[in-house]
Amino acid sequence: MTVPDTKPAAPTLRVQGLNVRYGRGALKAVNGVDLTLSAGRLGIVGESGSGKSTVGRALMRLLPPSATVEADLMELEGRDLRKLNERGFRKLRGKDMALIMQDPRYSLNPVRSIGDQVAEAANLHLGLKGRAARNAAAEMLDRVRIRNVASVMDLYPHQISGGMGQRVMIAMMLIARPRLVIADEPTSALDVSVRAEVLELLDELVREQGSSLILISHDIRMVAAFCNEVAVMYKGRVVEMIQDLTQAKHIYTQGLLSALPDPSNPVRRLHVPDRKRLEQMEAQS
């Protein structure tokens, strides 16, 4: 899964100087982030609250009205996203650019069956109707390895497990075959064997269609193994870009690596990052 994509292509996504602020807070949730992505897989890791989801939602223009977004450049396949009006964005969302959200059950409609919701995605993006839409939905649910697809399609979001919810979300997104998929913690509720398959499925899509994937996750080992490049975020900034873990230089990234529990080296308490030192470094920069 670590084969780098060598062929240089025009970037799918170009972002420069992205800033996001919530409310009138002086603190920037995202602070001067630059990202460039060609066909392939870009990972974003970083601690909780560092702004990873905010970057994803800013690209999709799905932030709440309280958020202010500024960017020097924000382009999807050459189109200036900043100039697009809400109608244009609605067309783009789902079709060209899809976001798999961190909280699957929250983003599914609680009062509609799973089957109806996935079939609606097939209707919306593939123009399929009735039986044909349901068949496409069933096929996609099967691809994300939902078992007993026919009965699961009749269930409501509260009746499925956490991991099933995540896969349903993924199925809904993949149906449209978008150019850019932003997957925000797409596998955090999945067990390891299903996780590998879901990642392979995402990877397949990316390769088949030459599209791009942004994988947001706190699982730094998984992201580094899966992505061509990894952006490490800390307090709203990208502190370094790495191709593999051995390159990690920033003390924050090194701190992340040493905080991982290691079964072959049991300890009573885990190593936690030295926040004081990080704050000092920040004050200096």
């Binding site: 919530y22 890791v45 970083g46 601690e47 909780s48 609250g49 560092s50 989801s53 709440p64 961190q102 909280d103 059950r105 929250y106 078992r147 009965s151 009749d154 009746q159 499925i160 497990s161 956490g162 991991g163 099933m164 896969r167 913690e185 955090s188 509720a189 999945l190 067990d191 390891v192 064997s193 299903v194 996780r195 590998a196 706190h218 699982d219 730094i220 193994a225 701190g255 992340l256 905080a259 991982l260 529990p261 290691d262 079964p263 072959s264 049991p266 300890v267 009573r268 308490r269 885990l270 190593h271 936690v272 990052p273």
Partner: protein, 251 residues
Amino acid sequence: MSTKNHAIEVRGLDVVYGEGEHRNHVVRALDFDVRRGETLGIVGESGCGKSTVLRCLTGLERGWSGEIRVEGSPVSHRRTQEELRRLQLVFQDPFASLHPRHRIRRAITEPLRCMGLAVRPGQVEDALEQVGLPGSFAERFPHELSGGQRQRVAIARALVLNPPILLLDEPTSALDVSVQAEVLNLLSDKKDAEALTYVMVSHDLSVIAHMCDRILVMKDGRFVDEFAPEAIAARRATDPYAQHLIDASFV
């Protein structure tokens, strides 16, 4: 049953959802004990019934049959307040467990108010700081927090009643590794100080190996294997499914 050393005893636990062609036998005649002061891990593939078992233990799931004892006393489908207090659950999905229109202060004090207990001044701030969040987050709404911050609120809320038994459903799956380390250390320290009993469900076998004294492997509603954390390090299990889980964890 020799009950005094057991925080939880379960015999013949069964859960069936749906009827006819939709009948889904999710939990199948489970027998297990959790010793006092132990951390028991439960692992198994998505949909195998782990969260359902935890929901039966806390009393959230009413449609079970079998026998459940908590600290020696049998519990029924309807729980007394004291029975509810003793077992607190940290939910897998922090969004589902926090009311979107209630401030964090209200979320954290809710269990106290349900039990008719008074809220001490500063208690909410202390509870937040204990899980590494600033006390000022008390005035925020859930959507104003990141995923990991919400999960820490959920843990703070579960701890506010000082329960002797804590059920943790994927408590760190929404957290980055540094906060995960902080939360796991917090749970270990709490346990050392107060001899708590934990039941922990996680997909992350490194987390399970780090936290648990004993690990049960669940498949299709049954336990198929049991091992010690050392087996994960040695990557050796007896059941082939358990072996598959271990192998898949270390790609």
